[in-house]
């Protein structure tokens, strides 16, 4: 493994030409120009021509056309990340609607009820577990095999973790007939919650992991943005990761966990139990950091939790760019963030460089520029450390 490995976290935006075509909305000239722009930028002439021929139809779009557009958006996204210079690639989750909905659509036992606000005017569809979950189909296998065909670089597959699936779902099955307001009721709620977590870990996520490993996956990232949502359940989250990976820890897969927008201090000391199972812990940091250059703790205020991670043997994945703003971090800022962390951890081979989270809320142009600068910042840091990357 080389030092200061760079990777994206998962999602990129779905381009307008893809969204509109799939939802039957009219495409504008700007959408067509955008498709042309990326085909040219990424040097994908034949796929670009094919895409444009589908987009120019503007109506009577067949299911086959739609599948091709998804395929091409997956190719474009993979190549965008490759061109940005990342070491580990994926396709910006172009095959998925959204990290939660993608799972639920492929699982029996859940029912969608409607949208719930995440923040501002951003919503996600939320489902309830209405009977015991079971897997309909392996929901990452096709996309993994597709992306494998796009690049010779290593692929890292982001997989929504079981704890997050449960935490983002309502529970009408395990919690049925559980009352509220009394001590006995609260104990019953806890028992119901554990049963739900264990079932999703063992019956839903784990079989998908196994299918990916059988297909040759070497880097798997469990996305667990909900990990520290509930302070009394951090232990449950850790148990859920252990149930999920289980004996798969004996494979040659590099296991990563991504958590964001959370209170990371709540993970300690629980994460100790994940040593020897999980290799990398990636958190979001840039969102809470200053934009000033420098490597002093007063400036790098977003990275204070690194001091707590120092004593463990995890690879420390660091969010070095903020995904919720169009501000493009200069390479020098990324460099200083990396060097600050390397100085604490003491080993550049134990530091991975990434954005805070998926870049799906940014346009591809902004995302690309941010990622380019991130890679350039990593290169500056490596140069200063006398390392070859």
């Amino acid at each position: 493994m080389k030092p200061l490995v760079t990777h994206e976290i998962g999602s990129l935006a779905k381009p307008n030409w893809r969204v509109k075509l799939l939802t039957g909305r009219p495409l504008t000239d700007t959408d067509i120009e955008d498709a042309k722009y990326w085909a040219t930028q990424l040097g994908l002439k034949s796929e670009g021509d094919e895409l444009l021929s589908i987009l120019h139809k503007r109506k009577e779009i067949s299911d086959q056309d739609k599948q091709r557009v998804i395929h091409i958006s997956s190719l474009f996204a993979t190549k965008l990340l490759e061109r940005a210079g990342l070491d580990l690639l994926f396709d910006g989750e172009q095959h998925r609607i959204e990290m939660y909905e993608h799972v639920i659509r492929n699982v029996e036992g859940f029912k969608f009820y409607g949208h719930v606000r995440s923040f501002d005017n951003k919503y996600y569809r939320r489902a309830a577990c209405v009977y015991r979950p079971s897997l309909k189909r392996y929901y990452h296998l096709d996309e993994f095999n597709t992306v494998k065909g796009f690049t010779s670089k290593p692929i890292k597959v982001p997989v929504t973790g079981a704890y997050t699936v449960v935490d983002w779902s309502f529970d009408e099955y395990y919690m049925k007939n559980v009352a509220i307001g009394t001590r006995t009721a609260h104990e019953a709620r806890h028992v119901a919650r554990v049963r739900f977590l264990k079932d999703v870990a063992e019956r839903i996520v784990k079989p998908n992991l196994k299918s990916l490993i059988d297909a040759g996956a070497k880097y798997i990232q469990l996305d667990e943005p909900a990990a520290t949502t509930k302070r009394d359940e951090v232990g449950n989250f850790i148990d859920t990761v252990i149930w999920t990976i289980g004996e798969l820890k004996h494979t040659d897969v590099f296991w990563s966990i991504h958590i964001c927008f959370s209170n990371y201090s709540m993970l300690f000391p629980h994460i100790e139990k994940l040593q020897g199972i999980v290799h990398e812990l990636h958190f979001e940091y840039a969102n809470r950091d200053t934009k000033q250059l420098g490597r002093h703790p007063d400036v790098r205020i977003g990275y204070d939790v690194i001091n707590q991670l120092k004593g463990y043997n995890f690879v420390v994945g660091i969010g070095t760019i903020d995904v919720h703003t169009d501000y493009v971090e200069p390479p020098e800022l990324v460099r200083d963030r990396i060097l600050y962390v390397v100085d604490i951890i003491g080993d550049p081979y134990r530091v991975f460089v990434a954005p805070d989270c998926g870049l799906r809320t940014r346009s591809w142009r902004v995302a690309y520029q941010k990622l380019r600068n991130m890679v350039e910042g990593r290169n500056l840091a490596a140069r200063e450390l006398g390392l070859t990357v």
Binding site: Y113, G114, H115, V116, R117, S118, F119, D120, N121, Y123, Y124, R126, A128, D167, W168, F170, D171, E172, M175, K176, A179, I180, G181, T182, R183, A185, H186, A226, T229, K230, R231, F261, S262, N263, N287, R288, D322, H324
Partner: protein
């Protein structure tokens, strides 16, 4: 015992409004269409609340519980995202500059924009408590926040029949002795301005311990709200509930879609009435309702409406 029925906190937007807000963000609809969608959704919510004793506008045009205040608190600006307690919802931090001031020239249109009179029942305004604001604020002490909130509340009180303050932090985070002094004074002053109008302090997301309970019931408010998804009623037994104070019983689980059985709710409320003998009980949600999709929330409201007026 008299039972009041009421919603509380941010109410979920309807699916149609959600779509319009998204389309507006993406430039697909104009402001007139957005305003019309808010109006239609609000009217639907007013209709839904028919029969509830206390009613409001659901805060449908609030981006979160703090954002409207940024528009009238000079020197306060919006910053990054932070998780809203133990939920999958995020608020934006608000950053206070020096010498925060209420923009009095804008306060009247601001009140009109964010507080809409329902068609029936007592009209309540739902506001974030100073301790909630502090959790999501940078650069301001609780005292500074309480002062500016008090000044703002002054302009809302004449319009409404009741004020609810939502305060998860008081029980979830805890408060210091100095904080307690600030809060004691704050609620006393709000109550003084309200006179005979109702003042409710709603707590969420955690069970208060004995010390917090004693503090809560000592405040000059008409009722204390308790989230019974997280609160075990057994902890209340250690306390002699003051007979001049009501309980806002958060018995509708706003974090889960399971629809409550009316009988189970009645039984639980009956137990509270018998064991604690509060002055009155407001039956309500365990926290903001917007953690539910609108269809689920609306179904729970139908159960709430079906409850008897007295037990």
């Amino acid at each position: 015992m008299r039972i009041y029925k009421s919603l509380n906190g941010l109410y979920p937007r309807g699916e149609k409004l959600i779509k319009v807000t998204r389309d507006y963000d993406r430039g697909r609809v104009d402001e007139t269409q957005l305003v019309e969608a808010y109006e239609a959704d609000m009217q639907a919510l007013f209709k839904l609340q028919e029969g509830l004793d206390l009613q409001y506008d659901g805060l449908l045009n609030w981006q979160d519980l703090l954002r409207p205040f940024v528009e009238i608190w000079d020197t306060v600006r919006v910053d990054g995202l932070v998780r809203y307690y133990e939920t999958n919802t995020f608020f934006r931090v608000i950053e206070f500059g020096d010498n925060v001031r209420l923009n009095e020239s804008q306060i009247e249109p601001w009140v009109d924009k964010y507080f809409h009179k329902p068609h029936g029942g007592l009209w309540f305004a739902y506001l974030p408590a100073p301790t909630l604001v502090r959790r999501f604020a940078k650069g301001a002490t609780l005292k500074v926040i309480a002062d500016i909130m008090l000044e703002t509340t002054h302009y809302i009180i004449p319009k409404v029949d009741a004020i609810y303050f939502g305060d998860p932090s008081l029980v979830y985070d805890g408060v210091s002795a100095d904080d307690m002094q600030v809060l004691r004074k704050f609620y006393a002053m709000v109550k003084r301005e309200l006179g005979s109008k109702l003042l409710l302090l709603m707590t969420y997301f955690a069970s208060p311990d004995e010390e917090k309970l004693n503090f809560l019931v000592s405040l000059e408010v008409d009722a204390i709200g308790l989230d019974f998804v997280h609160t075990e009623y057994e902890v209340l037994k250690s306390l002699r509930w003051p007979h001049d104070k009501g309980i806002a019983a958060g018995v509708f689980d706003t974090e889960n879609s399971l629809i409550e059985s009316p009988n189970a709710v009645i039984q639980f409320v009956q137990m509270l009435a018998e064991e604690l003998n509060p002055q009155f009980i407001v039956v309500t949600g365990s926290s903001d309702w917007h953690f539910l999709p609108r269809t689920c929330a609306d179904k729970k409201v139908q159960v709430l409406k079906s409850l008897p007026k007295a037990i």
